[in-house]
């Protein structure tokens, strides 16, 4: 991520709920930096403070101590009004239960987010349409939000999160209420938001599959954070594996990871055959 702009920085973020004996340290001294174009996944057991951390980062909850910067602005030092204004343009939220405005139509759900940020009329309507059409919802614009399927709802909520072109996208369990096909769809949308649009994306999830699209996975336990390393896919058998403990092989300037020596041998044999037949090398490697 060298040279990429730092979008989020959290230092020593701590949140204590309650007082005295019943005090809960939901988040405990978390340091975190996320850059433009990066998708960071946060995993951890239930009750480990993931949602609490995300809520603080998004400026919806004030930490007990520590500070959060979004694009250089210390949001933990802002007053309520400025904080609301900052959320309006700098942060996009995606939720497990979608949280759409159910009485509004699909296009109005996105349009209202633009209205709230002071963008009205034709501009807002056109932008809403564009965002939705790009996510395959062009034929659902007039539908009532509550009549959509879960996968469609989540795509609407993604379009809404992007409405005001925020640099930071926060998603809490975005695939938990979806079947695996739609979960995968959302996964790839999130990856595109980071890679193609160059936004910083933080996803909280129990969904192991998300590790495949994440640049980094952090483990949160008892409010404290640890790096979990990266998950990669074995190009031969397709298994998801930890990059750190995998069999690595450099080939034509790319690094490939395998679940076992067997797979790496198979890969080498395959490459040799392809070269002999004049084909290019396969995919699945890193630079």
């Amino acid at each position: 991520m060298d040279g990429k702009q730092e979008i989020l920085r959290a230092t020593g973020v701590t949140k204590v709920f309650g007082e005295g004996e019943r005090a809960v340290r939901a988040v405990d001294g978390v340091d975190l930096a996320v850059h433009a174009g990066e998708l960071v996944l946060i995993m951890g057991p239930s009750g480990s403070g993931k949602t609490t951390l995300l809520t603080i980062i998004g400026g919806l909850l004030r930490p007990t101590s520590g500070s959060v910067f979004i694009d250089g602005t210390e949001i933990t030092a802002l007053g309520e009004k400025d904080l609301t204004a900052l959320r309006r343009r700098a942060v996009g939220f995606i939720f497990q239960s979608f949280n759409l405005w159910e009485s509004l139509s699909v296009v109005e759900n996105v349009e209202l987010a633009l209205n709230i940020a002071g963008r009205h009329g034709r501009f807002a309507r056109d932008r809403a349409r564009e965002l939705l059409t790009a996510r395959g919802l062009g034929h659902r614009l007039r539908f009532r939000a509550r009549d959509l399927s879960g996968g469609e709802k989540q795509r609407v909520s993604i379009a809404r999160a992007l409405a005001n072109d925020p640099e930071l996208i926060l998603a809490d369990e975005p695939t938990a209420n979806l079947d695996s096909k739609h979960g995968r769809e959302v996964m790839h949308l999130l990856r595109d938001i980071a890679r193609s649009d160059g936004r910083a994306v933080i996803v909280v999830s129990h969904d192991q599959r998300l590790r495949e699209v994440a640049d980094r996975t952090l483990w949160l336990e008892d409010g404290r954070i640890a790096d979990m390393g990266r998950v990669v896919r074995d190009p031969v058998c397709g298994m998801s594996i930890e990059a750190d403990s995998a069999v690595a092989l450099e080939h034509n300037g790319l690094v490939y990871h395998f679940c076992s020596r067997g797979c790496s041998w198979e890969f080498q044999a395959e490459q040799a055959k392809r070269v002999a037949a004049g084909h290019a090398v396969g995919q699945g490697g890193d630079r």
């Binding site: 919806l60 609301t84 939220f93 949280n99 405005w101 159910e102 349009e111 209202l112 987010a113 709230i116």
Partner: protein, 366 residues
């Protein structure tokens, strides 16, 4: 701008309809009571419609209905001679019972002796029937079933209905006009009359004439036509206004409660959605505006339906009850509109605390 308020209201069509009906009923109640009051307050208007500017009555007469006024012929003579007086019309008037078709009814019989004083054709037709005839109004006609050409007997005098005039202002007791000679026979009096209706010369000072009438004659008292009419209305005002004030207040409270409850429930139900609005940067003002628009829409719809309903009810009720005399006035409609807007504002204050207390962090809680 996305019409959030409208969408939220129409998302629950059944509840919207019920709430509109609630407000409409409140508006209907308030408006009907006011219109009835206005209708009934036309009482005594006959004293403003007759051509006399002043009414000479016996000292101490409180009003034409509850008081007997007796005036001797010499007094009428004397007043006729006062400077600025064009004519004095002797008037006989008394509440009388009669029984058309066996049912006892009461009517305010009145007779004016215009003598040689010229009366316009309109006055002639409405107030001065020839001997043997009587002019009644629509209310009395419907109460008694009497129509043009029918005959009735009052104290042994046989009368034929000359024609039925439009509904008069007096709802409780209607006026019926008979010929002065018939009135003498019915009342059994020779020279004595009840009032002297004084018609002034053009440009004459009413105040000066009034002073001249009572000067040296403490047995007389003078009302202007307007004052005499108001003495009739005073009774209606005194008995009616406290009652309508209570009814109007009940209507207002019911209306405000209906809107308030609806808006409050609608807000509670959408707590999460309002939370999302806050999370994505909606200011409290933005949320209040949605709630206020919701209640304004609700009350406006209720107002329109209520006005329509009140007009319909007035029509139907007047058919069934002759005394249901309503008069819908623009100022009352305006006041009721203002009251419904006040309901809307009051009602949207109810969920304000609720909105303030919505924590946007709930959006991440399942």
């Amino acid at each position: 701008m996305v019409p959030v308020a409208r969408r939220n209201l129409f998302a629950e069509k059944g509840r919207f309809a019920i709430s509109v009906a609630g407000v409409a009923l409140a508006v209907l109640l308030i408006l009907t009571v006011l219109a009835l009051y206005r209708g009934w307050s036309r009482a005594g208007e006959v004293f403003e419609q007759l051509p006399g500017e002043l009414w000479a009555v016996q000292q101490g007469t409180s009003d034409p209905f509850h008081s007997v006024s007796l005036i001797e012929p010499p007094d009428i003579e004397r007043v006729s001679g006062i400077d600025g007086v064009q004519a004095v019309v002797p008037v006989l008037s008394r509440q009388m019972n009669f029984a058309p078709g066996g049912d006892e009814q009461s009517v305010r019989l009145m007779a004016l002796d215009f003598g040689g004083f010229p009366a316009s054709p309109d006055i002639q037709e409405r107030f001065l029937p020839p001997q043997g005839q009587v002019v009644i109004d629509e209310t009395l006609s419907r109460k008694t079933g009497l129509d043009e050409g029918d005959s009735l007997n009052i104290s042994g005098v046989e009368l034929t209905v000359a024609h039925v005039g439009p509904r008069g202002g007096d709802v409780l007791s209607q006026f019926a006009f008979v010929n002065f000679e018939d009135a003498r026979a019915i009342f059994g009096v020779a020279g004595i009359v009840n009032y002297g209706m004084v018609v002034l010369d053009e440009g004459a000072q009413a105040g000066a004439v009034e002073a001249a009438i009572v000067d040296g004659h403490p047995d007389l008292q003078v009302y202007t036509g307007k004052e005499f009419a108001e003495s009739v209305r005073k009774e209606i005002d005194e008995s009616f206004i406290p009652v309508i004030a209570i009814l109007v207040a009940i209507g207002f409270v019911v209306g405000a409660a209906v809107v308030g409850l609806t808006i409050y429930t609608a807000t509670i139900e959408r707590t999460r959605e309002f939370g999302v609005m806050k999370a994505v940067g909606g200011s409290p003002g933005f949320l209040y505006r949605i709630v206020l628009s919701q209640s304004v829409m609700l009350t406006s719809a209720g107002f329109v339906v209520g006005v329509g309903g009140a007009l319909l009810v007035a029509r139907l009720a007047a058919r069934a009850v002759p005394e249901f005399a309503t008069d819908f006035q623009a100022r009352d409609l305006g006041a009721v509109l203002a009251a419904t807007l006040a309901m809307a504002v009051l009602a949207s204050f109810v969920p304000v605390r609720r909105i303030n207390s919505i924590d946007p962090a709930i959006v991440f809680r399942a």
